[in-house]
Symmetry: C2
Subunit: 590 residues, 2 copies
Amino acid sequence: MDDFIFGTLASEALRLAHVRKLRGGVTHRAARSPRDPLPGQPIQLELTVGPTQAFDRAWVFWSADGEDPESILGVARHGWATRMDPVGVEWDVLEWGYVRRFRATLPGQPAGTVVRYRLAAGAARGEETHADQGAFYAFYVADDPLPGWARQAVVYEIFVDRFFPGEGKAWLSPETPAGFYGGTLRGVTEKMDYLANLGVDVLWLTPIFPSPSHHGYDARDYFEIEPRLGTKQDLLSLLAAAHQRGLRVLLDFVPNHWSSLHATFQQALADPHSPYVGWFNFSRWPDRYETFFGVPDLPQLNLRHPAARQHLLDAATYWLEFGMDGFRLDYAVGPTPDFWADFRRATRAARPDCWTFGEVVEPSDSQLAFHGLLDGCLDFMLLEAIRQTFAFGRWDATRFISFLDRHEAFFPEDFSRPSFLENHDMNRYLWVAQGDQRRLKIAALCQFTLAGPPVIYYGTEVGLSQKRDVRQGELGLPEESRLPMSWGDEQDVGLLAFYRDLIRLRRLEPALQHGHRRSLYAGVDCLAYTRGELGDEVVTVINLSTVPNTITLDGSWKSVIFATEPGCELQVEPGKVHLDLPPLAGVVVK
Amino acid sequence: MDDFIFGTLASEALRLAHVRKLRGGVTHRAARSPRDPLPGQPIQLELTVGPTQAFDRAWVFWSADGEDPESILGVARHGWATRMDPVGVEWDVLEWGYVRRFRATLPGQPAGTVVRYRLAAGAARGEETHADQGAFYAFYVADDPLPGWARQAVVYEIFVDRFFPGEGKAWLSPETPAGFYGGTLRGVTEKMDYLANLGVDVLWLTPIFPSPSHHGYDARDYFEIEPRLGTKQDLLSLLAAAHQRGLRVLLDFVPNHWSSLHATFQQALADPHSPYVGWFNFSRWPDRYETFFGVPDLPQLNLRHPAARQHLLDAATYWLEFGMDGFRLDYAVGPTPDFWADFRRATRAARPDCWTFGEVVEPSDSQLAFHGLLDGCLDFMLLEAIRQTFAFGRWDATRFISFLDRHEAFFPEDFSRPSFLENHDMNRYLWVAQGDQRRLKIAALCQFTLAGPPVIYYGTEVGLSQKRDVRQGELGLPEESRLPMSWGDEQDVGLLAFYRDLIRLRRLEPALQHGHRRSLYAGVDCLAYTRGELGDEVVTVINLSTVPNTITLDGSWKSVIFATEPGCELQVEPGKVHLDLPPLAGVVVK
């Protein structure tokens, strides 16, 4: 069973083409230091120019007034043109030629500034090529650290149509898994005690706007609620019920595209002179326009159009003022960085402690480019590492621990990386683990003892799985991982108790939320790491093997405070302990 | 017609495998700063560790007493172990994982020291992997700049068997081009006036040691002369004739391998207990041993064996003391860097002003690794650029100029890069230029107006070409580019006069030897660059087009001091000049 996640970089050929495009072209890709500048802090930008790009000079065109910088032939027409310095030359074996590196430093800016910029390389005679196919970059200057509640969060992803139809209502029986099952906002509200008892403190609702689909990632209106799911009053009730119990609620927001049924697109189709034509990227009106992955029903928004951009920013502001606590941002690589800088400014203004994180199904370097634009990104690389190690058994413990060490060294501490084992676009974890709950429990133990705020996808905690494989390229099949939530007797109460205990463990041990992580041991089939300060650490120990294992740890560890399986024993000797672990079991020791 | 040069990196697949091996492994590849340290200067070393190399620590094991550093499980047994610091993590898309970077600084060392080192990465439990498949590195600490005569040199490569048999002797008539044509050392001596009149001041003799082949790159004895070519007395006469006329002489030296007929190898084959067995790399005595590119007749030397190494160093010293002025070093990537550090110390001790440059048929990054071990490397990248641009017309002028700018920025100024248009291992330039002398002349003009000391391969100056193609992978065919030298009526006297003038131009304009180069202009089919200081520059202008071109240059240029073709005209206007150039023509303007 293959685990497809990174579609655009799924094969060696795609990765090679990606690297060659970057190294061969005029490339910036947010190579900026710092990426998230404080007020007054100068910002260094880097650019590389590939072997066949015969350019010997480069510029940053930038503005600090919220408008696009404009330039022609190396001269700024709006904003400033800062000449970049050549700082080095590298030989590139794949491109078989020299890559030239340029650097420039922009002056520090006051708090609240959005700096927009583009980079270009050119030759003496004036010809110029913009970096990254003309991308507009931006950053928002502020001293606005990640809100504290986001660091401590345990998130629960609710696929609204599939969570709960409401007391006394049965699930609908759609003809295909892509139909409507009848989940509602009121259903979520009615399950608030279930969620509070589980121990999660942040709900992420998949899109709730009017939409023709069961998933809602194709909205018709960003200011209304899909009637199937309920009303604004229902959402207010949901928020009240949540906030009353100390839970916060995140909205799933899709700025890249919306439904072709959206009034703006319908008007754009109907009238070539409509002001809405500019909201989309028509290459030939009315039948050629940019879409999300080639789906005609999902026209891509032209967020560089001021009115379209403002519409999106207004919607985001509206829902924060409505009472939502933040956003999970769908397909965040779609909109350009300058949109995200504006988005950050607007959302922080509306709600200084909101939490925003992106869905960026790309490797770590692409995710880090969102530092300073969003609070962070869903941790897809950790997802892959956890599934490879704990579900598939393809990575041994040394590889996983080495990955963790480097992964944490790669990202700045203030970049939020919500962790997850599965979501609504891939095979469920329990499915790829062939139903082996032990593999789920050690993965969850690992997830909950790392720093990233853990996300539970609805149903994971009660053993919800699927009936057949989600396969790459087959549309419709993701629904396999979106089956209706199990309630009542269908729930695996043992697993539910495990999840409750695991969440409580994280709550009771602040070191698991905030503590520094340190790898303690990695063998072929066992691993151990600590969280917290020396002398006050908790240790996670996992046996990846399908046979029992004894692990000896130096130190004065006193007791097992959590175990995924019965039969985990700790034997104390002076200065060390022996841990007897059953197959595929893990413990937390203190 | 394909121009094969870089055999081991000739295809995309080979290059990709090369990059993946480097990025995926434990890799140093002489990433050292400075590469050629002065006495007392600290040296920084870098190491990268690929994603599946789950190592979290790294060390440099090093010595400064000329002996190998030795280590076991992260602890030095001879020399020192310096722990490397983790300094960063990079995401690698091709390897789909994190590459960890380590750094360490070694203390400065006194002049004359050879520092030898190895690097290793390991995990806490002691396992360690040496960088670059266990490579031994080294550098020689000295303040020994490139000798001045090497900067001014114009070199002439003499393939001895093919140059001149001597007065009154006819060429032999071998059955195949791989046979003996009868050139001799005495023949070279007799042509010393020809060479002096041509204007070259350095001769590079292909190997002259006893050897079964016409080329001599498979010697039987490094202390004798091949009788076919002459005697030591003949060589002394040659040296005297050369030195008397101000010419220096370089020997072609092959430390990587020698003939299987060499007495040491014969003894090693005859007796498993022979001390010479250790001089070679037998994996199974007597029939499996490492060779040069799989040729059983060319056993590779084990230069890590002290006696074998000393034998080679003694040979090099012997010939310098005999009167030779330096070495062209064949297949310099074969011996390890620690051999080259010893070689540098030995040769500099024997002859402080000797010139040593390597044949490294690898791209620039590999060539630069020889900085501090040799004075430089034959400029294979420039060769490729010149042939692509001037012979094949595949690169336009902007690409070539951009290459030049970056190529010169890549290499330190004191790294000697002898330039050439062809050599004895590839199709002759005139052959790939389909006999078009105009293409040869503009290439030579470019070669002679760049900083690298130009090398002329015997016969180029009189129109010597070949009869059929040298094709990759076909053994024996390189001989096509080694046809006997043209003498008398066979010589193209027009081309010869051109070469004499070109060499004289370089002599008369010191800016062409030492001056800073600056690109002045690059269009699709024209290019111009200056050499020398502002106000005292000479300008090279070349029309790559097959139609006439007029190029306008700003500045007060007075006259054309060299032209490759008749009909190059300069028209002066206030503050600028117009240059009318025939097709495929170039000029030097002052």
